[in-house]
């Protein structure tokens, strides 16, 4: 069974702080995706990383795919209250497997 473990599970920070969320697995994935989910909504795709070592930036968010394509990280610079939500990594093999999730709360 493929398992994607995210850390930390919960994160509560002040506006303006930086943070990093980690997504680790013992399995290799053809690609890895990051989603954000807000209450009452389904997850929404943030980014897809495909190549080992790949780094993608989306405004204040930086995503990295590990060289071995088993792990990934999400770094947020100068977090804002609008970044609050559940962040989910998801590994793509023959199906999409979601990580355990990181719940982020950013206080003004």
């Amino acid at each position: 069974t493929q398992l994607l473990k995210q850390s930390p599970q919960f994160l509560s920070i002040q506006e303006g702080e930086n943070l990093t969320v980690y997504c680790n697995s013992s399995s290799v994935f053809s690609s890895l995706q990051w989603y954000r989910q807000e209450p009452g909504e389904g997850p929404v795709l943030l980014v897809t990383v495909v190549t080992g070592g790949e780094v993608k930036k989306l405004k204040r968010l930086t995503f990295q795919f590990g060289d071995a394509r088993k792990d990934s990280s999400l770094h947020i610079t100068a977090a804002q209250p609008g970044d609050t939500g559940l962040y989910l990594c998801a590994g793509r093999g023959d199906k999409l497997i979601f990580g355990t999730g990181t719940r982020l709360q950013v206080f003004p």
Partner: protein, 114 residues
Amino acid sequence: SAVISQKPSRDICQRGTSLTIQCQVDSQVTMMFWYRQQPGQSLTLIATANQGSEATYESGFVIDKFPISRPNLTFSTLTVSNMSPEDSSIYLCSVEAGRIYGYTFGSGTRLTVV
């Protein structure tokens, strides 16, 4: 990307009853996916629904408990049968928008079993 309409958005049901959740997509898709999200947790894949064939269930999920219909390329239903409080979860349907574009999700059905 595809737009998914899912209903009902929420329901409170008595134990022992069944609830059918509907998922309508605005374009034709080969596969539709059903996920469960237990309170405060991540998403777990229940099954993959293909048009014209039986759904493929993941380990821990069985057809008798979660029967799925897929009558055409834009519609699917998931039934939660003989419900117990442990079935209280958010149920989401999803379609793939492409390997790079990711999956699109419905807004979910929040089920509470009392």
